[in-house]
Structures are given as structure tokens and as C-alpha cells.
Amino acid sequence: MSLDYLWHGFGVALLPQNLMYGLIGCFLGTMIGCLPAIGPINGIALLLPIAYTAGLPPESTLILLASVYYGAEYGGRISSILLNVPGDAGAVMTTIDGNPMARAGKATEALVISGVSSFYGGMIAVVLITFLAPVFGLIAIKFGPAEYFVLMVFAFATLSSMVGHEPVKTLLGCIFGLTLTTIGIDATSGAYRFTFGSPELHDGIEFIVLVIGLFSISEVLLLLEQHAAGVLRPLKVTGSYPTWAMLRSIWWTAVRSTGIGFVVGVLPGTGASVASAVAYTTEKRINDRTGTFGKGDIRGVAAPEAANNAAATGAFVPMLTLGVPGSGTTAVMLGALMLYNIQPGPQLFTEQPALVGGLVASMYVGNILLLVMNLPLVRVFVSALLLPNWILIPGIMLLSILGVYTAYSSVMSVFIMFGIGAVGYLLRKLGFDMAPIVLGFVLGKVMETNLRNALAISGGEIGILFESPLTKLLWAMAIAIVLVPWFISRRRAKQAQPAA
């Protein structure tokens, strides 16, 4: 296994313009993470059309979007600690111990401990990615249409673990996404499906239009609804810096949580929020002998922050190696690659070594930048918490319309965006998650064309889908990912019964 790609990658990541995009991404990411109103996925949705229209090369776009993503995992802790409102989904657990610390006048300590833990988590996870990515590249050529199809089956199977408590809504969301991909020219037969004679619909619903509609427009509508709620005042950043002994005492907590976060992140379908919850409860079980967790224990701040960063980084592993998104946000990034005509999949590493290497290398740089931004400069982001909604809401709206219009110079796209936004708003009010829709949309076309190609090659014989060792392995993985959590929960229920 060669790590040459990483050296090439540093060559890409350290180009002045890419350093700048990384810096902008880290700054915006922290800001977006810090603002409870918008999460990383909204931020990426807004930035994507801007990057695309500005003609950024694919590696720069990816570096920018990725740094927003893991930057947000840093920023989310700020509002968790100071407002008791998580800045993004991955920072929910940080409120439990972070906010009590801030109320006890130890806000600086909480911010530094959580910042350093984020750095631990992010950095260790990048090192793991560095060694994992090339391994998958070796088997790329073994992937033919049949293998791709089963890979997509596996990706959809992982959805079952994503929103376990509402499987019907997950499934419906996914089917909605799949249905949207059938609009446009059919890649196999060349037939025009659901275009209603309009050439604007020949290429189907554009990915940017979908993402902006689902995440920005619906978000604006939700924000407008909550507007009356008023603005929360963040707590003052007071207290002293933590001691070296404190930073050393959280080391094993950070290492364990990074491990948990990384594994959870790598598993497609689960993300930073699950990772931080698992890491927090694990640490609580191991360390909480005196009942300090929940009252401002520094390990309770360190664990979720190390885990959510490790998970965000780990989510890139299935994306870069198999072309399967590990989270809603990486699904958006995969869609971004498709805009550049780069087909995600196991061949990505062999065909685009500069892209993969550049992204991985930029994560080393990005985590260092983020550590600097989040320790001495943390006050800049705290002041962002005072940003009133009457600036935020029109701002997001403006960027959405501009983004879509400049990317496609078509008013039709803007109308479709509003339509999807309205649907997204309704679905969110009904408790639907947007991620399965995006996943269905991103993977649907790949799944359909590969199934049809596999069957074309075999002359209609369905056996081709189970023939090669690789397809068998993927089927087994797909079945396992659905059944294992179900078995575990059943065993737990059984164990709990006699006790009760």
C-alpha cells in the first residue's frame, strides 16, 4: 500500500487558493455550526451553487464543502455551552455538561476542553482515513454493474439504522427521492420520462435545485415560524484556561470517544449525533463513579466533541472508498462530485488520486486551522450568536435564489426550487427526515442503471446479481446491517424483562 497519494494530496491542499478555500470553509463551518438556526447541511447546500458557478475545480469545491462540514462539528459546541441550545445535531450531548460549566463561570474552560477534544477526534480520524482509503481502491476494478447494484442495495439497507424509530417515514422519504430521479432522459433506453414535453426537464431535477429547496427554503419557512420566539442571550465567556493536567486527564476519554465516533461515522447511515450520544453514555458508564456527569464534568464535554468530529471525518470513508454516503451531508458532497461529471464509486481513488489525496491532506490542515480559530478567536463566533433573524432569514433566501439562478440561468429551476422547498417544509412538519430523500436521489439513478445494465449483460438472468464473490459479500453485509441491530434490541428487551 502506498501513501504517495497523500504527498500529492498535500501538493494540492497547500496550493494558495486551496488553503484559502479551506480557511474560508473552516470559518464558515464554525459559524454555521455555532448558529442553531442552520446546520452544516444547509451551509453546504448554500455554498455548493456558489462554488460551482464560480468555476472552482472539483478538488477545491470538495475542500471547501468538507471543511464546512467538520468545521461545523467544532462550532456546534459554542452554542451548546453558552446557550444550552445545540448548534447542530452532533452537539446535543455537549449541552449536558457544557452548559452547567458555563453557568458555574467556567465557560472558557469548557470551550477550550471541548475545542481540544474536537481536535483530537478530528486529527486521529484523519490519520485513520489516510491508511484506509487506498485499501478500497485496490478492489475497484472488480465492481461491474451487478456489484454496483448490490452496493446500492447495501447503502439503502443502512438507512434502516438511520432513523430506526420511524422506519415508515424513512422508507417513504427514500421512495420520494428515488421517484424524483426518474424524471428526465433514461440513461438506458434514451426515453424521456415525466418531462411533459418541456426541454427544461430533460436532464431531470438538478441536484443543486433539490438540495437548496429541501434544506434552505424549507429551513427559511421553519425559521419564519419560530421568529416570534425571540433571541436568546449567550452566557459570558468567563473563567480561566484549563491546566495541562486537565488536558492530559481527558486523553483516554478522547481516544475512546474518537474510536467510537469513527466507527459510527464509517457505518453508512449513522452520523455525528448518534456517535456523540454513544460516546457520552459510554464515558458516563466507565467514569461516573461520583455522579459528576451532567453537572459539569470535563469528560462529559470532551467525549461528545471528540466523537462528533471523528464521526464527521469517518463519514468520508464510505464516500471516498465506495461512493456510498455515510451521512446526509456526505450525500450532498457526492452529489457535488456528480455535478463535475465525477462518478463516485470504488474507482474514485484510482481515477482521481489528486482529488482524494487533496481532500484528505486538507483535513490535516483544516483541523489545525480550526483549533486556532476555536481557541483564541472563539469570541468572534460568540458574537455571531447575536445575529438577529431579520438578517439571517432574508440572507439565506437571497443566497438560495441567487445560487440556483446563477448555476442554471433558468427561472424554471427557481420555481422548481420553491416547489421542492414547500414540499420539504410540509414533510419536515410531518416529522420526515430530509436525509433519506437526498440519499434516494443521489443513489437512485446509479442503482437503476446498474441493475438494468447487469440484466442486459446477463440477458435477463437474475442470477448475475448473486454470482461473483463480491456480490455475495455485499448481500451478506446488507442483510447483517438490517438484522444485527434488530437482534441486539431483542436481546436487550429479553434481558430487561426478568429484571423487571
Binding site: I141, K142, T188, G190, E200, Y340, N341, S409, S410, I457
Partner: protein, 320 residues
């Protein structure tokens, strides 16, 4: 009709005595997103015009995505039919879509075809370790066992790659409708699938295959050109040499709107003629994997119409 003819003569006389009218602003519209074939065509034109300083101001390249050029076609005919500075990128793929009536209500006579800027040629390839060494052999083997040869191409059923494959199948005496054809996502996916053994025959274009053939990763059996192509491909026979009478150029060219005056149309034709003689143009052409291809003005217009007719016949013959 008579008036138009007189006008034409008058224009010709005036043009004959003075320089051709040069439009104030020039723009090349690519009917797809940046990075594709239409973009490459526009860049070829824009870069070489700038390098040779044939036009005074640089040519802008704009994009209008949709329906592989259908949106741009409708836009030019419907909204900017008389813009003298606007040329639009097209390819033999556009002629195919016109033949299949996939450009909306307009046909190939709705615009004025200016000229081709170069061409790529169809090729048939097999894996490097394939026992089949020549196209003749392939056709015989295919005829014996069509089910044993899955064919991959970078386009849907009815696309140019599919038609190339259908012609091979027909030559082997097999029914193109029963062909095991996989419509893969572009040329890169086709060559990867060939190397992975998922398909046995690849139908594609010379430029996307030549580097891999040179590296020994696949074998090009024949090139669908009139004469052998230069460079590495000089060792590869044409389909004609192998006894299969197919020439398949994938030309790239430009058209202007239907109401553009003869003077402006002629200015574009002459500009392309001048441009194609320059070394700057040849360099840009080669960099984009295109081979020289001469077809300008009335010749080109005639050729597009003939291509559309040919594609219509091929589709009917193949049973679409």
C-alpha cells in the same frame, strides 16, 4: 423567393468587394454544463480565435444546460434567431437527437450550420487478454455466440455507441435487438468495465481509448475512419480494411440562428476556414483529442442533413 435571391446576389457582390462583416460581440453557447464536449468545442474556438487574434475582442463562452443541447437549440431558434455574434456548439450526437425528434418541435433545418471544428472516430475494442485479435475474428465469433459477448457503450439504446455495436452485431448475422448491450456512464466507465471483464466488447471513441491501448490495458481492433489515424493508431486497421464498410466520425461543430444574415453567416464560415489553417488551431484541436475534419458552409449544412437521414435509416434498420 426571387427577392431573396436578388438579396443574396447583392450581398455577395458587396461582400466580394469589401471585408466580411464582423459581429461586434462574439459568444459561443455550450448547451451543457462546463466540462463536457460542447464546452470543449466552444473553448477550442474561443482559445484559438484569441491566440490567432482573428477577432478583435475575446469570445465569451456561455452555458445553457438541458437535454444534451435541446434547451440551447430551442433558445436560439425561439429567442435569439438573428443574433449575428452567437454560435452554438453541436456534434454528430445533435444530429442523432434531431433524427430521433428529441429537440422539440424543430428539425435540422431550423438553424444555419456553419462548420465542423474537428472529429473523433468510432472504435471497437476488446480487453488486452482477449483471444480475439482482429475485427474479422470478432465478427465471426460474435455470430457464433452473441450471448457470450456483452457489449458496453457510453450511451443509451439508440445512441451512437449503441449503433456502432448494432452494426457489429448485424455484420455477424445476429439480431441487434437481442444484443446484450450495457449503457454505461460515459467512456471512462466503458473502459473500466472492459478491464474488469464485465463486458467483452467496448464501443467508443478513439480519443478516450487510445491512451489505455498504448498502456496495454485494452486492444483497439479497428478505427471507423476513412484512412488510418496518426500516432499510435497508425498501427490499427480501419474497419474498411477489415472488410466492414463503416465510417463513423463524431464531428464537432457550430451553428448560428436561422435569421442570421448571409453576410454574417459567410463571415463565420470564412473565419473558421482561416482559423483551421493556423498552427494555433491545430494545437488546440489535438489537445482536445480531435482529428482534422474539413466541412464548412454549404458542405457542412448538406452533411448534417445527410447525417440526420442516415441516423433515421440506421434506427429503422436496427429495429428501434
Amino acid at each position: 423567393m426571387k427577392l431573396k435571391f436578388v438579396g443574396g446576389v447583392a450581398a455577395f457582390v458587396i461582400l466580394g468587394s469589401t471585408a466580411f462583416a464582423q459581429p461586434e460581440k462574439t459568444e459561443c453557447l455550450a448547451g451543457a454544463k462546463p466540462g463536457g464536449g460542447f464546452d470543449a468545442t466552444c473553448r477550442l474556438l474561443s482559445n484559438s480565435l484569441q491566440a490567432t487574434k482573428i477577432t478583435a475582442s475575446p469570445m465569451a463562452v456561455t452555458y445553457m444546460e438541458g437535454g444534451v443541447g435541446a434547451v440551447a437549440y430551442n433558445h436560439v431558434v425561439g429567442t435569439r434567431p438573428a443574433d449575428p455574434g452567437l454560435v452554438v456548439a453541436a456534434s454528430s450526437g445533435s444530429a442523432l437527437l434531431l433524427a430521433q425528434k428529441k429537440f422539440g418541435s424543430y428539425d435540422e433545418t431550423a438553424v444555419r450550420w456553419v462548420g465542423a471544428l474537428g472529429a473523433d472516430y468510432g472504435v471497437i475494442a476488446v480487453a488486452a487478454d482477449s483471444p480475439v485479435k482482429t475485427l474479422k475474428e470478432l465478427i465471426v465469433e460474435y455470430g457464433k455466440n452473441p450471448a457470450g459477448f456483452a457489449i458496453g457503450g457510453g450511451g443509451a439504446v439508440g445512441s451512437q455507441d449503441w449503433m456502432k455495436a448494432a452494426l457489429i452485431a448485424k455484420a455477424g448475422g445476429a439480431d441487434p435487438k437481442k444484443m446484450r448491450y450495457a449503457a454505461l456512464e460515459g467512456g471512462g466507465a466503458v473502459t473500466t468495465a472492459l478491464q474488469g471483464g464485465h463486458i467483452k466488447i467496448a464501443a467508443g471513441d478513439a480519443s478516450e481509448m487510445v491512451k489505455l491501448a498504448e498502456a496495454g490495458k485494452l486492444r483497439i481492433l479497428a478505427v471507423m475512419s476513412e484512412k488510418r489515424l496518426p500516432g499510435y493508431l497508425a498501427n490499427v486497421p480501419t474497419a474498411k480494411e477489415e472488410g466492414l464498410d463503416i465510417v463513423w466520425p463524431i464531428w464537432r461543430g457550430v451553428y448560428v440562428g436561422p435569421k442570421v444574415s448571409d453576410a454574417d453567416y459567410n463571415w463565420w464560415v470564412e473565419t473558421l476556414r482561416k482559423l483551421q489553417a493556423t498552427s494555433e488551431f491545430k494545437k488546440e484541436q489535438e489537445a482536445r483529442g480531435l482529428y482534422p475534419y474539413e466541412s464548412l458552409g454549404a458542405d457542412y449544412d448538406k452533411q448534417v442533413r445527410e447525417d440526420v437521414k442516415r441516423f433515421k435509416t440506421l434506427a429503422t434498420e436496427a429495429g428501434l
